[in-house]
């Protein structure tokens, strides 16, 4: 199946439409909430929570004995929240640092989850097959009710986000100030963390425990490069997330043997890479270009300053001098000289150069900060 066929099928084929919609919604909601995780420096929390959700899935299955995805996700949610609050407990009550706390909870919960999963596998319950899809996720198992569930949760998230936008924003950038203003910071904090946990849990079925953190981070990290405004970032991040979901599904559906989760993550990774390189204000490419341009300007200024020092010793500033004497000066090349001529700072006459009136003025003010046309 190639891409054009895929596009045709999206509108006709039930399964493909469900999966595409599901991954798109998932990408949007994780991207949206991921912005907060990234800005709150809780990027790795997503990784820890997604691993910590595993025992919850197993326990929910052990209790109910059924594979109802909503019940399993509820278990995951509870276990993820326990993990999150334990991480906070470790950080605030002991001298262990946040990275240790995250790594601890991540590996311990996951190991316990694996113990339970292998324990379940030995049980004589035919229902248990397929629980391990939560490890790496299987978008193909999405059904319409799952998508509805995601859509509803996304709607609630969006509603709460808009309702408490001001509170979230101020907590994000100045927690102390928020407290002095009389907001209940603890409550806002718990609210946003719970939503992050919720978004992660939603994604477990589709991309799995291991790769979920990238779904949370990548769109947000990409969006961060294009803007400094929170609302734009959340919006962009949701768009990037949704597109990663759609493209990822498209690519994995058009190839054999490709599971959706990893492909979505790689597509999101491409978004990040492109943003890192090509973002106009922060991107590496433009940064490098600006760097080179600045260096050139500096060289030009040095040449001009050198000329100025020579011209200063003469009564007539436009007194011609031989180009040769410039050779003693390091930053000089024919190209820079040509540039100076273009800017009408210098006149060339055969092998002689002379400063113009304008050039002299610019040069004398070069380091005075007053001329704002430094470019």
């Amino acid at each position: 199946m190639d891409i054009t066929e895929y596009i045709k099928l999206v509108f006709t084929d039930y399964t493909l439409r469900t999966i595409t919609l599901g991954t798109a919604i998932l990408g949007a909601v994780t991207g949206m909430l991921g912005s907060f995780a990234v800005l709150r420096k809780q990027s790795l929390l997503g990784d820890a929570i997604s691993h910590a959700a595993l025992p919850g899935i197993a326990i929910a299955f052990l209790i109910t004995g059924a594979k109802d995805s909503n019940v399993l996700l509820l278990g995951a949610l509870i276990s993820g929240l326990i993990g999150t609050f334990w991480i906070r407990g470790i950080i605030s009550k002991t001298h262990l640092k946040s990275d240790t706390a995250l790594g601890l909870i991540l590996s311990l919960f996951f190991g316990f989850g694996m113990l339970l999963l292998t324990f379940i596998q030995k049980q004589p319950n035919a229902n248990q097959a397929g629980l391990d899809k939560y490890l790496f996720g299987q978008a193909a198992t999405l059904v319409e009710s799952d998508v509805w569930m995601m859509a509803i949760v996304t709607g609630i998230c969006l509603f709460v986000l808009l309702l408490f936008w001001k509170e979230f924003k101020i907590l994000l950038f100045d927690a102390d100030y928020t407290k002095t203003l009389g907001f209940n910071t603890k409550l806002i904090d718990i609210l946003i963390t719970s939503f992050i946990v919720l978004a992660i849990v939603l994604g477990l079925q589709t991309v799995g425990v291991v790769l979920m953190s990238a779904m949370l981070l990548a769109p947000a990290a990409a969006a961060r490069q294009w803007t400094n405004s929170l609302s734009v970032m959340v919006f962009l991040s949701a768009i990037f997330g949704a597109f990663s979901g759609v493209f990822g599904t498209a690519v994995s559906a058009s190839q054999n043997n490709l599971s959706t989760g990893p492909v979505i993550v790689i597509v999101a990774g491409v978004f990040v890479l492109v943003s890192f390189i090509f973002s106009p204000s922060r991107g590496l490419l433009f940064k490098q270009i600006r760097f080179i341009k600045n260096r050139r300007d500096l060289k030009l200024h040095k040449t001009l300053a050198f000329m100025y020092n020579i011209a200063e010793t003469h009564e007539n500033i436009s007194h011609p001098h031989a180009i040769k004497i410039l050779n003693n000066f390091q930053g000089y090349t024919k190209a820079t000289l040509q540039k100076l001529v273009q800017k009408n700072y210098v006149k060339l006459d055969g092998t002689m150069w002379s400063l113009t009136e304008e050039g002299f003025k610019i040069a004398s003010n070069l380091y005075n900060q007053q001329n704002d046309n430094n470019e």
């Binding site: 990234v38 420096k41 809780q42 990027s43 790795l44 997503g46 990784d47 691993h51 407990g89 470790i90 009550k93 002991t94 001298h95 262990l96 640092k97 990275d99 240790t100 995250l102 790594g103 601890l104 991540l106 590996s107 311990l108 919960f109 996951f110 190991g111 316990f112 989850g113 694996m114 113990l115 339970l116 999963l117 292998t118 324990f119 030995k122 391990d132 490890l135 790496f136 291991v210 790769l211 953190s213 990238a214 949370l216 981070l217 990548a218 990290a221 961060r224 490069q225 043997n257 490709l258 599971s259 989760g261 990893p262 492909v263 993550v265 790689i266 990774g269 990040v272 890192f276 590496l284």
Partner: protein
Amino acid sequence: MSSAQIEIQLIASLVAIACAIPGTFLVLRKMAMISDAISHSILPGIVVGFFITQDLNSPLLILLAALTGIITVVLVEYIQKTGLVKEDTAIGLVFPILFSIGVIMIAKNANDVHLDVDAVLLGELAFAPFDRLIVSGIDVGPKSLWIIGSILIITIGLLFAFFKELKISTFDAGLAASLGFSPAVIHYGLMSVSSITTVGAFDAVGAILVVALMISPAATAYLLTNNLKRMLIYAICFGVFSAISGYWLAHWLDASISGSITTMLGLLFLAVYLFAPNKGVIAVMYREKQQRTEVSLLTFLLHLKNHTEERERHVNHLNEHINWQKVRSKTVLDLALKNNMIKFDKNIVSLTEKGEDFTSQAIDYIITNEDAQIEDMKDDFFLFRG
């Protein structure tokens, strides 16, 4: 106990020791999450190595995969240096992407590769004794035992050789640099050892257990001691204890060995987290309560000292003036009485001589901003703590 069981426990214990040593330093250097990143991102390295060598236990594969681990660290540091995102985001971006590449590489070649992601991530210790190393026709033991054994010997050798350097650069990177030890060399050395240990252990116990074995024994030990040597020893003991008890738990439950070892590590950590003598949650909460009462006591004594008039020192008045809840005022009063700092005279409270002394010293310290001294002073005056 059959010989296979002994071998499994031996392998698990050796892995635990090999992980605890670099793990201790990772925890102290606040780089615990790097081990998680490495354990995931070695997957593409393992896959490429497997294509080349066709043998999961070949040393070349271990080196290649360890190289991917180091590439991860370098990549994370590069992204972080660009300043585009914070360090934790950089870690969180790099390893899932590398891991995804690994998963896709396996999926695309699923037919001719005897390797699956579950095995890499979770390992299967129970099968480790069946893969024997045969040297000139003689069976000398399981391959993983030899691999992890050699890694352990190298790690211990490096630890003894560079203990001083590691210690200084961990606790005071600036001093280490000024003394002429390159922090970069030690940093990348530690990263290399961690990567190699992770790769050497993943086959036996799986990538996630490696993370658990690196971080949790060290974190548990860190709650019990501040001494580096002791911390290393404790971490090793915890690791080995969980490895062996975890094996028997798995035996009893008939479940995954790596899962049960992690669970034992978790229980151990939980116990220490709650009950550690100085840094456990219960100890911390008790100390906080004690300090709260003692601060209240000090406030109360200061109030008494400031007011000579009887009206201000009447029990009823104190209750409403200082506005503590009944229970709290009772604990504070009891404490003051027990320590012989106040006396009652017809419902009028006044300071004893000892109380006077204590209060004036406390005022001195507060005025001169030497609040820390109050703790020492408490030892001198208090017979009973709050």
